[in-house]
């Protein structure tokens, strides 16, 4: 839990919020939740924009650090005009990202980045091949995380080690209290953003504490045996019947993965026009049959049952096995809430634990 040191606690009234946001936006690209049609999405904030805090965002803010598509480098094969495409090759790395601030990220979203971090820091190669694109953006992004006032039916952050008032992964915390928001720094990065704000009163600090405690109280109770999930899913790997049943209604669109704060898979593709072009990476997902389709036509995960198994297995079995038991799931529940056919990952995990106990 967060240390409650008075010096780090600041207050911004509802009226003063736009000015504070403008100040944040002056030094960085400021992303804030905005209502667009039926969705709430994180968009670059501009003066006059209303920040949507009454509905929880449809998407996570992962695209701030991990864009849906980004250039890795551009190439030019036209080095020698006499021999176009033959002798010359110039590679140009993508330009450096600028600083960004996310205002009112959810606590689950902030924890989502913690699933990315070790992977993109190159744990697969013993830290030797680091994903510089991600790491640079991550370093330059400051997360102001809001305390949830209530839980949705689909929320389960507490099942996977989180809480509606968690400060894990946050740079600063934002809690709504009477008349405005209490902001408290968690990291130096967060503190520097809050420096200009007036200190909160003892009363306001107490109100924030109460709100945060209330949030924790209202969160769903985690099931007893989540710790059994990795072994249970491992034990059911070859149980085709289990996975066919669980995946029967899945339409394998991958909306779950793109809304997920912890899904980090990507594709790399080239686009070119004549001798110039770029190599870029873009979001990809393991629900797509093309994800693992090999050139020969062989596909290790041809059936959607195998793909759903991989998605659930990755989050609750494979990832924890190599990351000290940490689930690659932050319990935001977006995959459940936005699934066109209402696939419920919680149910799959619980069913697996139950089924494995019977085997």
């Amino acid at each position: 839990m967060v240390m409650n040191t008075d010096t780090a606690q600041k207050f911004v009234s509802f009226e003063a919020l736009p000015a504070f946001l403008a100040k944040l936006a002056a030094g960085a690209t400021l992303y804030a939740p905005r209502r667009e049609n039926k969705a709430v999405v994180y968009r670059p904030w501009q003066a006059g924009d209303k920040v949507e805090l009454s509905l929880r965002p449809t998407e996570s803010c992962k695209h701030v650090v991990f864009p849906r598509s980004e250039e890795l480098f551009s190439f030019d094969m036209g080095g020698d005009p006499e021999k176009p495409g033959k002798a010359g090759l110039t590679l140009q790395e993508a330009s450096e990202p600028g600083p960004a601030v996310v205002f009112a990220a959810l606590s689950c979203d902030a924890r989502g980045f913690l699933a990315f971090d070790p992977v993109y820091d190159g744990c697969g190669t013993g830290g030797k091949a680091k994903d510089t694109y991600y790491l640079k953006r991550r370093e330059k992004t400051t997360l102001i995380v809001r305390t949830c006032k209530s839980s949705l039916n689909t929320c389960f952050c507490t099942w996977v080690g989180g809480s509606p008032a968690s400060s894990e992964g946050a740079d600063a915390l934002l809690t709504e209290i009477n008349g405005g928001y209490l902001l408290e720094a968690v990291t130096d990065k967060g503190a520097s953003l809050l420096a200009s704000l007036p200190a909160a009163s003892d009363e306001q600090s107490a109100a924030s504490r109460a709100a945060r405690e209330q949030a924790v109280q209202s969160a769903p109770q985690p099931p007893q045996d989540m710790i059994k999930a990795p072994a249970a899913l491992g034990a059911l790997f070859d149980s085709a019947a289990f996975w066919e049943k669980q995946s029967a209604h899945c339409i394998y669109c991958g909306a779950c993965t793109y809304l997920c704060p912890t899904c980090y898979c990507f594709n790399i593709t080239d686009e070119s026009n004549g001798l110039k072009g770029l190599r870029m990476r873009s979001w990809d997902n393991c629900m797509s049959p093309l994800f693992t389709l090999e050139t020969s036509g062989h596909n290790p995960r041809q059936e959607k049952a195998n793909r759903l198994k991989n998605r659930v297995g990755h989050k609750f079995s494979y990832y924890p096995k190599i990351h000290s038991g940490r689930f690659s799931c932050c319990g935001c529940g977006r995959c459940i809430k936005s699934c066109p056919s209402s696939v419920d990952i919680r149910k799959i995990v619980l069913d697996a634990i139950k089924e494995a106990a019977n085997v």
């Binding site: 590679l91 190159g122 091949a129 994903d131 510089t132 594709n267 080239d270 190599r279 990476r281 494979y318």
Partner: protein, 292 residues
């Protein structure tokens, strides 16, 4: 893995050419060899002389070859680290990028990201007999280790090679085969699936020929690579010959993109073929989920 494991692959010493692991090193094609109607071999040198001089890798490690505009594909570096005049890749034409690669001529530029992945545990094979069993393009990863061992011949016991292809025309590395057959320190057996005119060597499927060769599992390591169906029956044959899972080594293929354990598509359970593999013992594979 336990002590008794005859050959356990190790995690690689990753030596990227540049600080950005996605940025390929430009390399010049110095020679193109047409091996079969669908396989070409490319010999490349890194354009940056210093990088080429410093480049090191282990037998069995792979590289990503870039055709700018079509993409990247993974191939084993099939020249051995004992012969560093060039890096050799053999490419079977199958998809968009391999088709583009087949248009390469000497003097053209490609991108190389290498070395990636783990490698054959040749240290733990020292003093042992070695049986290589390669099918089709699966001979490429075996070639690097075979040549490496031949270049360090005294470190190993008897070395045998069983190499099979569908027909004589489908046999890659044709230029080297006479030398391999002639070498007194290599027992080389070639086979094709069906009779062909003028073919002086064996005829028969690899697993059957292997059973006829009847190699002793005593102090021996079998290393195999080839198409899935061949691997399946070869493993059965090796088990029949009483090779233990620790004595059988293979190298896997998966769809790969990043090559550095991040992009998420080459996993088998919690193992990523691009960093935990591609080389695995059968004992390791048996502990992994069955999702090849």
């Amino acid at each position: 893995m336990s002590e008794q494991s005859g050959a356990t692959p190790q995690r690689p010493a990753f030596t990227p050419g540049l600080s950005n692991p996605y940025l390929p090193m430009p390399a010049k094609v110095i020679e193109v060899i047409t091996e079969t109607p669908t396989i070409k071999t490319f010999r490349v040198v890194l354009q940056d002389e210093k990088l080429m001089k410093e480049f090191s890798f282990e037998p069995g490690q792979v590289g990503q070859l870039s055709m700018f505009g079509s993409g990247e594909s993974t191939f084993v570096i099939n020249s051995p680290p004992t012969r560093m005049e060039y890096l050799q890749f053999s490419v079977m034409r199958a998809g968009e990028n391999t088709t583009a690669l087949h248009s390469l001529e000497a003097g053209d530029i490609v991108g190389v990201r290498a070395p990636l992945g783990n490698y054959f545990p040749y240290d733990s094979m020292k003093g042992k007999d070695i049986v290589f069993i390669g099918g089709g393009i699966g001979m490429a990863p075996l070639r690097t280790l075979l040549l490496f061992m031949l270049d360090n011949r005294k470190d190993y016991g008897k070395i045998s090679l069983l190499y099979g292809a569908r027909s004589p025309q489908d046999m890659a590395f044709g230029a080297e085969l006479p030398d391999w057959i002639a070498r007194p320190d290599l027992d080389c057996v070639l086979t094709i699936d069906r009779e062909a005119e003028g073919w002086p060597h064996r005829v028969g499927l690899i697993p059957n020929v292997l059973l006829e060769m009847n190699p002793s599992p005593k102090n021996c390591i079998a290393i195999t690579c080839g198409p899935p169906i061949m691997i399946k029956f070869t493993l059965q044959a090796l088990e029949k010959l009483k090779f233990s899972p620790e004595q059988i080594v293979t190298t896997l293929e998966k769809r790969m993109k990043c090559g550095i354990g991040i992009c998420g598509r080459c996993n088998i359970g919690d193992k990523y073929v691009c960093v935990d593999g591609p080389v695995f013992t059968l004992a390791q594979l048996k502990e992994m989920p069955n999702e090849l």
